[in-house]
C-alpha cells in the first residue's frame, strides 16, 4: 500500500479498536441507552452524551458511498482510492478501497473489510470488493 505512512496516535479510548484491528477484527461503538451505533469512536455516546459507548464487532460489510481517486497527492506514489463506506450497521467510515479498477468504482459497490499491517502495534482496516 502506498502513501500510508502516518501511524495513528492511540489513546485510552481508541486502544481497544486498534488492538482488535491488530487481531483482524473491526470494532465500532454502540450506545448502551439507545442501541444506536456511532463512528468515529469517542469516549461518550453522541446519542446519549452521559453514556459510555460499548464496543461491538462490526460485520465488516458495507457498500461504497462515494470516493475520490488521488492521482496527485502529498507524496509520490501510485493513485489510491479515498472513500466513504456505509457499513451494514448504518455508520459511515472513511478508508481506502483496494482491488478495484478505477473504471469499476461506483456507488453501491459491495465491500468487505481487510487489514494491512503497518507495524507491530498497528493494522489498518481497508475495504475490498465483496464477492458474496
Amino acid at each position: 500500500m502506498t502513501t500510508m505512512t502516518t501511524p495513528p496516535v492511540q489513546d485510552e479510548t481508541s486502544a481497544p479498536f486498534w488492538e482488535a484491528a491488530r487481531q483482524g477484527r473491526f470494532l465500532i461503538q454502540r450506545c448502551p441507552e439507545t442501541g444506536r451505533y456511532q463512528w468515529y469512536p469517542r469516549a461518550h455516546s453522541v446519542h446519549a452524551p452521559h453514556a459510555r459507548p460499548e464496543w461491538v464487532e462490526a460485520s465488516g460489510r458495507g457498500e461504497l458511498l462515494t470516493y475520490s481517486v488521488v492521482h496527485r497527492g502529498n507524496q509520490p506514489g501510485d493513485p489510491y482510492v479515498c472513500a466513504l463506506i456505509r457499513l451494514d450497521e448504518g455508520v459511515t467510515v472513511f478508508s481506502r478501497v483496494e482491488g478495484v479498477a478505477e473504471a469499476d468504482l461506483r456507488a453501491g459497490l459491495p465491500l468487505a473489510v481487510a487489514f494491512h499491517t503497518l507495524d507491530d502495534a498497528t493494522s489498518l482496516p481497508v475495504f475490498r470488493p465483496r464477492t458474496a
Binding site: T6, P8, D11, S14, T66, S68, R72, Q75, F94, L124
Partner: protein, 388 residues
C-alpha cells in the same frame, strides 16, 4: 436580541495586488494591506483599537498567539482582538463579531486582516490541524493520506451520483470565473479557457481536475470596520453590514452528511433574516470557490437554487454579468487570488462592487452584496450581506 443590522460599516478595504511575494514575510504583507485599508478609509493606525486575524496556519507566519504577534509586528496594542480560526471564512465571522463588538462599545475601529505566502514559505511547520494530525478523531482517517482535494472529490462524486451533475457543469464554474478574471488586471490567471480545457487538464483527485482547483498565490487583504455614525465622516461611501451568520459542523470525512448539506445552510438563513432581504434582492455575490464544487454546494445551501440544481444553475449562465446572480466578479479563487483563506477577499470585492470599484467585472448600480465563505472541507461557513 439587539438588532445589529446596519449598525456598523466597512469603511476601508484593500487587496494586495501581489500574487507572488518571494521572501516576503506574511506579516509584512499584512502591514501593507492594513495600511492600504486604513488609507482607503481615511484613518490612521492610531485610530485602530481592534485587530482581527487568523494567521497561525501554515504559510501565514504566526503561531498559536498569532494575533499578539501581529499586533506587535504592526506596532499597536489593541483592546479588542479576535483570532478565531474556522478556516477560509474566518474573516467573515470576524466581521460579524466585530460588528457586535463595535455596536456594544467594546471597540470603535476594527481592522480585519489576512495574508499568506504559500508559494515560497520554507518551513514545514508542525501543524495540529485536523487534516494532518493522526490523533483523536484524525487517527481514524489521516493514516489513509486523504488530501484536501480528495475530500472535495468525495463531495463532487456524490453530487454527481445523487443529482446527475456532470464534469461539464463543474467546468462551467471555472470558465465563468475565468471570464471575470480576464477583466481583472491583478488576477493570477487571465487567459480564456473553455469547458474542454478544464476537462483536458490533469486529474488531481477524481473527479476534480487541475482547472477545477483554485490558484495558489502569495497575497493578502484587509478591511476596516467602525460604527455607522463614525462611518459617515470618513473618506469613502460606507458599506453597511446588514446581515451576518456563521456555523461550524465537522472536520472528519466520516461525518459528511448523506445529503451533502454544509453549514452554509445555517449561516445563510441567519444572514438573510438579520438583513431582512430576500435572494432576489442580492445584486452581486462573492462565493468562496476553492474548487468548482465549492460554490455549487453553497448556491444550494444558501437557497439560490434547489437541492441538486446548482449544476444547471451555473450552466444556464446565472453567475455571469446579466445573470440572476453575478458572482466572483474579480475572478474568485479559481482564477484571481487564493493564498489559502480567501474569505477576506469576498468582503473586499463586495465593498468594491457596492462602490462601483470592481477591478474585474462590475455589476452596475449594485446595492446589496452577499459575501460567503467556507472553511476546511465544508467544515464551517460564514455569510455576510452588505448594503449601501
Amino acid at each position: 436580541m439587539m438588532d445589529l443590522s446596519g449598525k456598523t460599516a466597512i469603511v476601508g478595504a484593500f487587496e494586495s495586488p501581489r500574487r507572488d511575494a518571494p521572501r516576503v514575510h506574511p506579516f509584512a504583507l499584512q502591514m501593507d494591506c492594513i495600511l492600504g485599508a486604513l488609507d482607503d478609509a481615511g484613518l490612521a493606525l492610531d485610530d485602530v483599537d481592534g485587530l482581527c486575524a487568523a494567521s497561525g496556519d501554515w504559510a501565514e507566519g504566526g503561531g498559536t498567539m498569532d494575533v499578539v504577534e501581529l499586533a506587535e509586528y504592526i506596532g499597536i496594542a489593541p483592546t479588542y482582538v479576535n483570532s478565531t480560526d474556522i478556516g477560509g471564512c474566518s474573516y467573515i465571522l470576524q466581521a460579524g463579531q466585530a460588528a457586535a463588538a463595535i455596536a456594544t462599545g467594546l471597540a470603535e475601529v476594527v481592522v480585519i486582516s489576512y495574508a499568506a505566502c504559500p508559494r515560497w514559505w520554507p518551513l514545514n511547520t508542525p501543524s495540529f490541524d485536523p487534516f494532518v494530525f493522526p490523533a483523536g478523531p484524525g487517527q481514524y482517517e489521516i493514516p489513509y493520506a486523504p488530501t484536501l482535494i480528495s475530500t472535495y472529490g468525495l463531495f463532487a462524486r456524490r453530487h454527481m451520483d445523487l443529482y446527475g451533475t456532470t464534469p461539464e457543469q463543474l467546468a462551467q464554474v471555472a470558465v465563468t470565473f475565468r471570464n471575470h478574471a480576464m477583466q481583472n488586471p491583478d488576477a493570477r490567471l487571465r487567459k480564456p479557457i473553455t469547458v474542454d480545457d478544464v476537462l483536458a487538464s490533469p486529474m488531481i483527485a477524481s473527479p476534480l481536475r487541475r482547472l477545477d482547483c483554485c490558484v495558489v498565490t502569495d497575497g493578502g487583504g484587509a478591511v476596516v470596520m467602525t460604527s455607522r455614525e463614525r462611518a459617515r465622516d470618513l473618506k469613502k461611501k460606507p458599506v453597511y453590514l446588514a446581515g451576518y451568520g456563521a456555523a461550524v459542523s465537522r472536520t472528519q470525512n466520516s461525518q459528511i452528511p448523506d445529503d451533502l448539506k454544509t453549514p452554509a445552510a445555517l449561516s445563510g438563513p441567519r444572514a438573510f433574516a438579520m438583513a431582512g432581504v430576500t435572494h432576489d434582492d442580492i445584486d452581486v455575490a462573492q462565493i468562496y470557490d476553492a474548487f468548482t464544487i465549492t460554490p455549487m454546494l453553497a448556491l444550494e445551501d444558501l437557497g439560490f437554487c434547489g437541492r441538486g440544481e446548482s449544476g444547471a444553475f451555473v450552466a444556464d449562465g446565472n453567475l455571469t454579468l446579466g445573470g440572476r446572480l453575478p458572482a466572483n466578479t474579480d475572478g474568485g479563487g479559481l482564477s484571481s487570488n487564493h493564498p489559502g483563506k480567501r474569505g477576506i477577499f469576498t468582503l473586499i470585492e463586495s465593498v468594491r462592487q457596492l462602490r462601483g470599484e470592481g477591478p474585474g467585472v462590475q455589476v452596475p448600480d449594485a446595492k446589496v452584496a452577499l459575501a460567503h465563505g467556507l472553511g476546511g472541507t465544508f467544515c464551517s461557513a460564514a455569510t455576510a450581506i452588505l448594503t449601501v
